[in-house]
C-alpha cells in the first residue's frame, strides 16, 4: 500500500485511540499512539491475513501476537479498520459485556485475537509455539510479535529468546516498542535495559533497528526482515518510538502511559489528528 494511504489510516487509528480511552476515562493511550504507525503498516501492508471470517488456527496466514496487551486500543482500532469486526464495536472498549476487554482476550471471541495478553512477558513464548507448529504443518507463513521495552524486564522473554535461537526459529519477527518509558518513569531509571541491541545479538537474534514513525522506513525494514527469514535465526526489530506520538501534549512523557484525556484534552488531541476514514 502507498505510504500516503498508510499515513491516512494511522491518523484515523490515532483518533480512534484517544476517543476510545476518553469515552471510558480508562486505558493506555501513550503506548497505543506510539505503535499506531507500526501496526498500520503491519496489518495493511506487510501481513498476509484473512480478516473475515476470522480463523483461530490461521493456517497459511501470518499471525500477530500483542504481548504488551495494555496497548489494546491501537490493536482494536487496526483490527476493526482492517475488517475483523465493525468499527462501531470500538465504542464497547472497556465497557461491561463488550468483546473489547481492557486487555485483549479470547473468551469473548473478538475476531483477530488468538491469545489473552496483559500480564507481561508471555507473548513471545506463545509465538514460538505457533512458529514450531507452522514448521510441523509445512506452513510457510510468518509469526509477528510486539513487545514493550519495559516488558523486556520480564524473565520469560529471555527464556523465549534463548529457545528461539537455540532451536533455529526462523519464521518469526519480533518487534520491540523502544519508547524508553514505563509506568513509573523512564526505563533507564526504573531498570535499565543496558545495550539492548547487544543483548539481542548475544542471544543469537538478527537485530534490526528502525524509526517507528517513518512509514517508509517501517515498510522497508519489515521487507528487509522478511527477506532474512528461513536462515536459521530469529529476527528482532528494535523500533524507536515516541510515547504519545501525534498528540503534542502527550509526547515525551511517561505520564500518558495509562491516563485518559478529559473532554477538553480530547478536543485538543482530535484537533491535531485528521479524520480520514470517518470516526466510529
Amino acid at each position: 500500500m502507498e505510504s500516503l494511504e498508510l499515513k491516512r489510516i494511522a491518523s484515523q487509528v490515532r483518533r480512534d485511540i484517544v476517543r476510545m480511552v476518553s469515552a471510558v476515562n480508562s486505558g493506555h493511550p501513550g503506548g497505543s499512539l506510539g505503535c499506531a504507525d507500526f501496526l498500520t503498516v503491519l496489518y495493511f501492508d506487510t501481513m498476509k491475513h484473512s480478516p473475515n471470517p476470522f480463523n483461530m488456527d490461521g493456517i497459511n496466514e501470518d499471525i500477530f501476537f500483542l504481548s504488551n496487551g495494555h496497548i489494546s486500543p491501537v490493536w482494536y482500532s487496526v483490527l476493526a479498520r482492517s475488517g475483523y469486526f465493525p468499527i462501531q464495536d470500538l465504542d464497547g472498549f472497556r465497557r461491561l459485556g463488550s468483546k473489547l476487554q481492557g486487555h485483549p482476550s479470547t473468551d469473548k471471541k473478538l475476531p483477530g485475537i488468538r491469545m489473552a495478553s496483559g500480564s507481561l512477558g508471555q507473548g513471545l513464548s506463545c509465538a514460538l509455539g505457533v512458529a514450531e507448529v507452522k514448521k510441523l504443518n509445512n506452513d510457510s507463513s510468518t509469526v509477528f510479535t510486539l513487545h514493550g521495552d519495559g516488558e523486556l524486564q520480564e524473565g520469560q522473554i529471555w527464556e523465549a529468546a534463548m529457545y528461539a535461537s537455540a532451536k533455529k526459529i526462523d519464521n518469526l519477527i519480533a518487534t520491540i516498542d523502544f519508547n524508553g518509558r514505563q509506568i513509573d518513569g523512564d526505563v533507564e531509571d526504573v531498570l535499565s535495559l543496558g545495550n539492548l541491541k547487544a543483548k539481542w545479538e548475544a542471544f543469537g537474534w538478527i537485530t534490526l533497528e528502525m524509526d517507528g514513525h517513518n512509514i517508509d522506513e517501517i515498510k522497508s525494514t519489515l521487507v528487509n526482515a522478511k527477506n532474512q527469514l528461513g536462515n536459521g535465526k530469529p529476527i528482532v526489530i528494535i523500533m524507536k518510538t515516541e510515547m504519545g506520538k501525534g498528540v503534542d501534549f502527550m509526547e515525551g512523557s511517561h505520564k500518558w502511559h495509562g491516563v485518559a484525556p478529559n473532554p477538553e484534552q480530547l478536543a485538543n488531541a482530535l484537533s491535531q489528528l485528521e479524520e480520514t476514514l470517518g470516526d466510529y
Binding site: D57, M115, G123, S125, C126, G129, V130, L136, A166
Partner: protein, 318 residues
C-alpha cells in the same frame, strides 16, 4: 475379605510415559514439551519415536507453558511434562492467562506430586497444586490412582477439548485398575460397595484406602470406597448417592487439607446434606526429606490414619 486382582507394581509416571507414547504413535496432532526432565517423566519413548513432535525446552517452564498454549493454534494437542511443583506454582500466571483464560487445549502433566517424591524434600514436594489448578475456570483436574489409570487418563484427555491438569507421582505402587478399563473424565469409580462409611480418595491414597478398608472389614466396619480420580468436575451424583447410604465420609489425599479433594467434597456436603467428614490430608505443613512411606506415616496420610478417621467419623454420626 475384600479382594482385588493386582496387575503388578509400577509408578504412575510410567503410566503417563506409556500412555503418551501409545497416543503419540496413533495421533499425529499430539506434541509433547519437556523442561529437562524427560527421564523422570518417562517421556523417552515418545521423544524417540515421535522426535519431530517432541520439544525439549530446557529449564524454562514459563516458556514451555506459553509455547504449549501457542501450539494449540494450528490444531496440535500439546502435553507438557515436568514435576508438579514446576508445572503449577512456578508457572501459575502463565497457566492462568495463556492456558485457562485463553481456554487452550493444553494438557499439563505433572509428576512427582506430593510427599511421595521423598528424599528431595519440601522444595519439590508440592501439596498445593490441586487447589491452585481447580480454582482456575476452564481447568479440568485429574489425579489417577495407579499405573493403568494414569495411562488410560493420559490417552483419554486427548479426546477432550480444553485445559487439563493431570497429576501423578514417583513411587512404585500396586496396580489394581483393570488394564482394559475405560477412563471417563468426571465419572468416579466405586471400587468397594459398603454401608458404614464412605472413603473418597484420589491418587496414591486410593491404594492406602483399599488397605484401610481391609483392616476396617476385619473390625466389622463396611466401607464404601470411591476413587475420585477427577477432582474437577467432581462427580457429585456418585458422591451423594453414597453419602445418602453411609451418612459419613472420610476424604484421603496426598495434598494440603486446604484446597484439595476434601474441600471439594465438603462443599458438596454443605450444599446438599449434613453428614460428618474427616480429612486425611497434610495439615498446613511443608514436608521434608525421607522415604515416601516414612513421610506418609509422619504427616498422617497413611493407612492407619484412614482407619482412625473412619472410626472417628462413624462415631460422629447422629
Amino acid at each position: 475379605m475384600i479382594e482385588f486382582e493386582i496387575f503388578g507394581n509400577k509408578d504412575t509416571r510410567s503410566g503417563f510415559g506409556e500412555g503418551l507414547h501409545e497416543l503419540g504413535m496413533k495421533n499425529e496432532n499430539v506434541v509433547a514439551l519437556c523442561a529437562d526432565l524427560t527421564g523422570s517423566l518417562k517421556m523417552d519413548a515418545f521423544a524417540k519415536d515421535c522426535s519431530e513432535r517432541f520439544f525439549q525446552v530446557g529449564i524454562a517452564e514459563a516458556n514451555m507453558i506459553g509455547m504449549a498454549a501457542g501450539m494449540t493454534i494450528g490444531g496440535k494437542i500439546p502435553y507438557t511434562g515436568t514435576f508438579a511443583n514446576f508445572s503449577t506454582g512456578r508457572v501459575y500466571d502463565q497457566i492462568r492467562q495463556s492456558v485457562a483464560y485463553s481456554n487452550k487445549n493444553v494438557k499439563i502433566c505433572a509428576s512427582h506430586a506430593g510427599l511421595t517424591l521423598g528424599e528431595d524434600g519440601a522444595t519439590h514436594q508440592i501439596l498445593e497444586d490441586i487447589g491452585m489448578m481447580k480454582m482456575l475456570p476452564n481447568m479440568t483436574v485429574i489425579v489417577p490412582a495407579d499405573f493403568n489409570q494414569t495411562k488410560q487418563a493420559t490417552i483419554a484427555i486427548a479426546d477432550y477439548e480444553g485445559p487439563v491438569y493431570l497429576r501423578f507421582g514417583r513411587p512404585v505402587m500396586p496396580i489394581f485398575v483393570r488394564p482394559d478399563a475405560k477412563f471417563e473424565i468426571g465419572k468416579a469409580d466405586v471400587l468397594i460397595e459398603g454401608s458404614d462409611v464412605t472413603i473418597v480418595a484420589c491418587g496414591h491414597m486410593v491404594w492406602k484406602s483399599i488397605e484401610a478398608a481391609r483392616i476396617l472389614e476385619e473390625k466389622g466396619i463396611s466401607v464404601e470406597l470411591i476413587n475420585m480420580h477427577t477432582i474437577k468436575p467432581l462427580d457429585e451424583s456418585t458422591l451423594l448417592k453414597s453419602l445418602n447410604k453411609t451418612k459419613c465420609v472420610v476424604t484421603a489425599e496426598e495434598h494440603m487439607m486446604a484446597g484439595g479433594l476434601g474441600e471439594s467434597v465438603a462443599q458438596v456436603i454443605t450444599k446438599n446434606l449434613l453428614v460428618p467428614q474427616e480429612f486425611v490430608a497434610v495439615n498446613d505443613s511443608f514436608g521434608e526429606s525421607g522415604t515416601p512411606m516414612e513421610l506418609m506415616t509422619k504427616y498422617h496420610i497413611d493407612t492407619a490414619d484412614i482407619v482412625l478417621a473412619s472410626e472417628k467419623v462413624i462415631s460422629r454420626k447422629k
